[in-house]
Each structure stands twice: as structure tokens, then as C-alpha cells.
Amino acid sequence: MTTTTTRRSFLKLGSALAASAFVPLRAEVKAPFSQPLARLDYTKAKATPTICFACTNHCGVIGWVQDGLVRKIEGNPLDPNTEGNLCSKAQGMISYTYYPERILYPLKRVGKRGEGKWKRISWDEAYDELVGRLKPLRENGVPEEFVFHYGRDKTKGVTKHFTNAFGTPHRLNRRSICSSNRRAPLMSFYGREFEWETQDLENTKYVVNFGGNPYEAYQGGLFMTHRLQRARVDKGAKLVTFEVRPSNTASKSDEFFTVMPGTDGAVAGAMLHTILKEGLENKEFWDRWANYSLEKLREDVAEYTPEWAEAKSGVPAADIKRIAIEFAKAAPACCTMSNRGSAKHYNGMQGDRLIRTLDVLVGNVGQEGGYCLSSLRGWSNRYGQEGLPKLSFPEPKASDPKPWGIGEGFNETAFKKLPKEVQDRVQGFPDAWKKKYYGELATPSEYPLSWHWYSMRVGQLVYPYIKEKRQKVSVYMSFTLGAAFGYPESNVVREVLLDEELIPFHVAIDIGYGEQTSLADMILPEAASLERFDHHSTNNYGLIPYTGLRQPLIKPQGESKTMPEMFRELAHRIGGGMEKHFTYTDDESLYKDWYKNLPISWEEFKRRGIWQDATREKDYRLYERPLTDEQLTGATIPKEENALVKDAEGSTIGIIKDGKPVRGWPTSHRMIGVYDDIFPTAAKAVGLPLEDGNASPVGLYHDVPEHVNLSEDHYIFSTFKWNVHTQGRSGHWKYSAEIIHTNPVFMHPDTGARLGVEEGDSVELSVFRPMGHTYRAGEEGVMGSFKNHVRFLKGMHPKVVMCSHHVGHWEHGVVGNGKSEKTAPSEGLTETLADKDMMKGVWWSKKNGGIGGGVHINDALPINPAPLIGGQNWYDNVCSIQKI
């Protein structure tokens, strides 16, 4: 059935080739995407399984390579989490791999910092300069002046291996930007191993969703969506969503209520109230596993009547009551769902604890169709990973640097350089925290919960803290980080990055030329995801752990290199013992060694891309499983009910239930931590008044301070994600940008009428600083503003206006900034990758008569870390709106 190539079409192809001659190609290089491609022939193309890198899900995919080009990404049917599914973003990997403005050579700046003038240098020159700057830091005993800061580090430990071997605690991340507010309640309830839940959506009958949007974004969304859609459409499960806008999840929900931002906790509280009032709680489960009495809970939620919640949230009391009853009656095949919508608020951490309490109260935790928990990340024989082959970064590992403090085993020199106020605060901390303290960038002392469980950090404060000179920086290395575009108050990020006194040297590692890399002194080109190896494992919504391999389909473009290769080379050149930790000869040998305990050969693993023991029992009721004879060897087994079982070393491994040792949860008390005094403890340690809701040992609803008495002409400005984009990373993926290249101010038509604006009108949106106990709270006046056009949607909450945050780039090339001409530097880019789609600029560029590439909004969003935990309260912003 194939169409034969006629003379005519051959001639046409010839004319297309001739047209491409107008593009400034280097004569000797091929530009395969500058002309129409030959049709895919699946009998000849080569299929290689790998792992997608387009978002945080990391789906198993198959990449098809024809004539040396990656032409198509499809789902890997062996991936038990995706079951062979994927989303549009997967094709974005091809877009960024062959993006014409991808960086292919090491670059050194030649003009002023930020001026955009660069020269191409060799890798030897790049290494020499870096080693020349890094080596003295180590030799002079100040390795902490090397600050490594990443946006997406999917090297599974290579970078930590490097920073540890170097001796710096500064391996900074952006978890606070993303999800620390919603991880804290989970770790408090269920232990460090379960910072993310894994609802059994395939078998559920009822889901109450507090602002989660798995049908568009959400870590795990792709894994959740097909299961939940099957449960809904084929088996009649019900999905109820509380949202502030008509997200795809809200639009596909059986019931969708617009809710006042920051009041999800009030709705959850009223559901708890109703379930207890109606006697629909699972008393047996609660008494057996919750570390808090049901009577105390009853007292706590007594005032949370549905009518009270209606006044807070706008959701009708009768609906709250009905939903609570339906939810409880569906138990155990019911579950809650929540993510940023509920959590990215001043009261989000405690609100999420109320939501988490709902599942415990109806006893659906770990049950079929319920709120399950399944093993996360690398397999190292931790809780829930028993019997799995041990996978670990090859030895010899480098140990963590010494914590900063006073006394033996502490880094006193670094500690004593800290501001006096900080030293005093840290000296007053409990001993367990002192052993985890590594200075203000890694472990900000005002936000101890950001590093109590593990180092989530408070990324948005890194730049203000550097500006305040809380930490001296000599070499700043950013890695796949878009802070200069995407962090709140990104103007402060750029101000600090441009200050050569604060940041004497900035080396950026990335695949593209973005806002962050443009402010560097040196850029190192990283190999893209289709060009490298990586180890992958995550929680499986099919509830049986699995692991997958990212592997190269093609060689790295230009002179780009992988992180393991770059860091091995750097470690050897710096020497001084670092080289002993980087003994692998090449990337493949490193990952092969990592996977040496898999029961299938390395070659077979590469062929399949995924490994799972599908005969393993699903992760239901892990907490009821008896401790094995092996685990009990040398252990002390007490007799009394609820006593803890400890192993030979004294570590808690289980709890006595019905007179027998079972595992319980991986919390210190092996129960579910509905009550946790870590919150008041942290509050006392940092001086947060105990009246602040964040200090409560049990979940509770407390108002977002700046939302109380919100005036008639003030609105709440919030942001959201589109399904075709990934944070600020995808603005230049051509097919994603074609669909979403703008970010209008969405509002309810009634809001528009009140403001006197129509669709298409422009407005100026001015944002105020938050109230409460947070960074620069209560400062008067407008902190930032932007102009954008308006669109109406009836599903918007009338007090809320929203823009998406992916677009409005001024770097990232023709597609990224929605313009017609290249903006990236002429050196070091890839004329070799010219793309016919971009030669004349994109159709939505203003020059081509289009609407342009959207508006950057992050300068107008205040840094607003939640007390204690430090998660950015992205969705609390109070604003005013003027028609222009």
C-alpha cells in the first residue's frame, strides 16, 4: 500500500533541498531536519527501549532510530507503571535533542557577564579552568565554597558522589519549589520511605481529589490517569475534584467544585467531622494503627461543620456532607488525592495532614482500591524492598562531609563563619538536628523541617542568602537549572548571578542556551537523555516494584558529554583522593556494575529496558506483614501489645500486634503519625509562635493570613501547568510550544465584568507580598507586576486569576521565545541541526502575524516559603488588576 515516489515528487524534494541552501549551513555538515524526512520504515528502523526524560514521571519508552536519527518515541509495553502508555511530552525529547539552538561545545564568555558573547573552547581548556578554580578550595580547606545547584538531576547519585568526594555539602535542589509542603505530611504519617503515595486507582471506587491534576501534570500522573480512567469509564468509579480552574482532571471529574484557594483543608476537616458524626469511621483500623485517640480527633474536628467549611471554601455544606458519606461508604476501595492545589499554601502542610487523616479514618490505607504506599527509588533493601535485588552505586562511595557545628566530628571552621544569630539558633537545636546541619544554603536553620527527614532544602532562598552573604561562594555550578527564569523573584536570581563579587565564577551545565546559562562564565554542554545511561526506579501504581534503564540511542551530539564522564574527568584532574571514587572506565561499565545483582544479564536488560518480578505479591498491607525469621535473628521480641521490636543493633524493625511481631510502618513508633510533635518542636526551635497553625502536632485548618478579609478589588493570583509542558523546560519543544505558546490571564466572565474587561483586553496585574511568618512578609506596596491579555473560562473561581508559567522565555531560541530570529549566541550552536520548521520563525511569532511567545511572570511572584518546611506557597499571591 506504500505510495511510490514519482518523478514529480522527487523533483519537489529537490526543490525543498534547494530552498534549504538559503540557510547558513556549514558546507561540510548535514542538516537532516532542514528538509522533509523520508517516511519511517518500521521494518528497517532500530528500536531501543529507554526511559523518557520529558517530565518527572520517567516512563518506559521505545525510541525508533532511522538513518541515524531518533524519529519516534513510543511507550514500552513492558513498563508495568505506564503499561505501554505515554504522553505528548515524550516526543519533546526529539525536539530538544535536535534543537537548532542546542549547545554542542564548551563555551567561555568573552564579553561582560550576561552580554551574550562567547567563544568556543576545548574540553581541555574547560577542565583546566575549572580545576584551577576548584582544586585550591579543597586544598585550602574550604570545599564548601563550591556550590552545586541542580534543577533536574537524573544521574541517580553521580553528582552526590562528586560533591561528597569533593567535600562540599552544597548539592542544592529545588524541592521546595515543587513539593516539600506535600511530602512533609506523608513522611510524618508514614515514614521517610513513603514521601509519595501510590493509590490503587485501578481498583478504586471513589476518589476525592483536593486540587490534584494527574490528567495534566502531577508526578505519577501518567501512571495514574489510565488506571483511573479505566476505573471510571469501565467500572463506574467516581472522581470528585475541588479545584480553582477547569483543569483537565476537573473537567473529566464526575463532580467538580470550584473552591476558594487554600481552603481544601477546611473541606477535608468537615469531611472528617461528618464521617465521625455519622459513625462511618473504621474504629478498628484507627485504634490499631493511628498514634492518636479517636476521641481527641473527634474533639479536634468538632468545630469543622460542613456549614463552617462552606463559609470558608464556598463548597455547599450539603455536598461536603454527601461526599464524606459516599467516600466513607466506599471504603476501603476509596482514596484521597492531593498535590500542589492543596499544599502550595501557607496552610498547605497542615491542610494536607487533614486530608491524609481521612484515609486513616476510613481505614483504606494499604487496602485494595485504597490509599496505598509502595516502594520508592533505588533498591537497597529498605522497607518494602525486601527480596528485591540490591542495586547501588558502585563502591567505593564517598562519605558525607562533616556536619557544621561545635565539637568533635563537626566542621567548626565553616560553622564559625556563619552569622552569630544563626550559630545561636543551631546551638539550641536537638542533637539529632545538629548532626544534620550543613550551613544556611543546604540546611536553612529557619526551616528545619526542610531537612529533618532528608535534605529537601529551600531553593528559593539560596539567592537571597548569597546576597545577604550568609555563605561565601567561589565556584557556583548550576546543572539543568532554570532559576533565572522559573524561581519566584527570578529578578533577584539574575541580580545575584550578575554580581561577580557574590558569584566570582559560574559554570552552567545544560543542553540548551537558556536564561540561566546565559548568565554563566562557562557553559558545559551535557549529553541529552537520548544519548546517555541512567538508572531508574519509582513507585509503581501497579504496586509491584520494577526498575528500568535509560540508555543511549545515539551518540552525544557535537562535543556534549554525560555527567558521569565529566565528573570522572574532573575528579581525576583534581586528584587529592577524589579519583579513588571514580574508578569506572566508561558510563556503560558504571551502570552495568550498578545492576550487577539483577537476575537477568546486562544485555537482556538493555534489550527489554525494564525488569520486574511480576510474581511478587502486590504491596497491600505491608504494615501487617510478619517480620521474617531472618529479620528476627538476634532481635528482642517483647510480649506486650504495641511494643517495639528492635534488631540486634537496636534499630526498630517492627511492632507487636496480636502478640506477634509485624512490620508496622517505617516511622519511629511503627504507627501512623497522625500526631507528630516535630511540628511544635520545630516551631519552638525557630521562634515560630505556637498559635501559628504550622506549629500544630495534628492536622488543622488555619486561614492563609493574607486571604482573611480579602478586599473587593483584590484577587488571588495563581499559576498552573499545561499537559504539553514541563515547568520552564519545554518552552522550546516545537510541538509543545505550537499548542501552548501563550499564558493569558484566565478569569471568570463575572470577574471580567467586575473589572470592566472583555476577552482580549490587556490588564496589568500587581502582586503584593504575603503576610504571616515568612520571608519579607507584610512589606507594603506592590512587589511585582506584569501585563498580559485576558481570557474567560466559566470554571474559574471568581476570586482567582491564573496564568500558566511555562512560556515567556527571552532565551531558548526561536521556538522558546516565540520570535522569528535566533537570539542565542552564534558560537557553539548547531547549524548542523537546522530545522525546516524554524527557518522562517514559528507561525505564532509576532513577525509572522501571530500572538507571540507569552509573558514572563516569575519576577512578579514573591518568595514565600511556608513556615518550618520552606515549600514555596505559589498559590497564595494577593493581587490587584488594572485594565490598560
Binding site: 514519482t6 518500521y42 505515554l86 489510565h226 477547569p246 504539553v724 482580549g760 483586553d761 473560562l793
Partner: protein, 229 residues
């Protein structure tokens, strides 16, 4: 997983091709979540230029409700295809299984097909200088694969199969869910059928697959709000 298992992506070749009497597609809007995986996968698969579309997912606000509906639109492979009749160069042809395709070698860019199509399914690919539209991924179905959009749909909203075989999955689902043609008044007997679409959606999409200044779509934003930006 036994060692040396045959992998799904290795079962490809003409021997796996399925012969259909009437190739068709079912689009279930209850299942569709508007993820754009089908349309973006189509672009990659068929090297469709920016600005041209073989498939496009439309975002349509419900007139009487606050939700958004999602509608993937493609060439309907009509049994009574106006484009086929309109083409002066006879470049639009029908395969044995009923699908309608453009013979690129014969296309003379007369564009009559574009005006004739009630679904906006055809556009001019200026890079190749030919008219362009969906052909149900002939190069894939020839070797036993589903069309790219079907393969890449994460919620089974798209089903490809034989509409003339009452036992086929597509026929059973079409019957069970009362699948209907989009815009039946066009009277073209489409081979693409929709589950759970309403008449208001047919009006709201305007022409359909291609960008149009009259589109009231929430995505693919254009300079069409009649206002300065």
C-alpha cells in the same frame, strides 16, 4: 519475563498486517483527557510541519457548564469523500480497506480538496509542496502496527479496526456506546465515529482540524480575540 522473550516491538512486518474490509476509528470523548499525545505523536510520525495538522485536539468550553470538553479531530475517511471527487488531478485515492489517501506524486496543489472537506482535514505542506492529510498511517498498518495516534493514546480513547466486522473491538464498542458521525449533515458517511459528542461541539470547532481565525479554542492561541494584545 522469561529470558529471550520475543519483545512486542519485534513483532513487526508485512506478515502481521491485518486486512480490513472497512478501516475505521472510534474516538471516545468520555475517555479522552485532552493530552494531545495523539496529535503530537502524529506530527513526529509523519513529519508534519508546524502550522499544518493531520490531527488536532480541540479544547471546547461547555456552553451550559464550567467544564472543558476535548475532541481529537482527524480526516474522517468518508465512504462518500468530497475531497476525492473534488480533486482535478485525481491525486486523492481510496485504498482497498476504504481509507482515503493523497498520492503525493500526483498532487498539483489545486486546493479544491481543501474547500471540499467539511472537516478541515486537508492542508498544504509548503515544504513538500503537496496537500497533506491523515492516511491512518499506512506505513504502520502495513506492518501490523496501529496508527500512531491510536498507539500513543494513554487512555484507550482511540480504537482502530474493521467497522465491517461485527465481532471486531471497534464494532462492538461503536454499538455499545452508540457511536455517531461528527457533523452528520455533511452526509459523507465517515469511517471515524465519535462516542459522547454533542451537536454544540460540532458548531464550536468551526472547520475542524486546521487552524482557523474563527476558532474559539482555548489552546493554539492565535491573534483572533479581535483585540490588541
Amino acid at each position: 519475563m522469561p529470558e529471550e522473550m520475543t519483545l512486542p516491538w519485534e513483532r513487526i512486518g508485512s506478515e502481521f498486517r491485518k486486512d480490513y474490509k472497512r478501516a475505521g476509528m472510534l474516538v471516545d470523548l468520555d475517555r479522552c483527557i485532552g493530552c494531545h499525545s495523539c496529535s503530537v505523536s502524529c506530527k513526529t510520525e509523519n513529519d508534519v510541519p508546524l502550522g499544518n495538522f493531520r490531527m488536532r485536539v480541540r479544547y471546547l468550553e461547555e456552553p451550559e457548564d464550567k467544564k472543558i470538553m476535548f475532541a481529537p479531530l482527524i480526516c474522517m475517511h468518508c465512504a462518500d469523500a468530497p475531497c476525492l471527487k473534488a480533486c482535478p488531478s485525481k491525486a486523492i485515492k481510496r485504498e482497498g480497506d476504504g481509507r482515503v489517501f493523497i498520492d503525493e506524486g500526483r498532487c498539483d496543489l489545486e486546493k479544491e480538496c481543501i474547500d471540499a472537506c467539511p472537516y478541515g482535514a486537508i492542508s498544504i505542506n509548503t515544504e513538500k509542496e503537496v496537500a497533506e492529510k491523515c492516511d491512518f498511517c499506512t506505513h504502520r498498518t502495513d506492518v501490523g502496527l496501529d496508527p500512531s495516534c491510536v498507539e500513543n493514546c494513554p487512555t484507550d480513547a482511540l480504537v482502530f479496526g474493521d467497522l465491517d466486522d461485527p465481532e471486531s473491538k471497534i464494532s462492538r464498542l461503536a454499538k455499545k456506546n452508540d457511536a455517531k458521525a461528527w457533523k452528520p449533515e455533511a452526509k459523507t458517511d465517515p469511517s471515524v465515529l465519535y462516542v459522547s459528542h454533542d451537536r454544540w461541539m460540532e458548531k464550536a470547532v468551526n472547520t475542524g482540524v486546521q487552524l482557523d481565525e474563527k476558532d474559539a479554542d482555548i489552546t493554539y492561541e492565535q491573534n483572533n480575540l479581535g483585540k490588541k494584545h
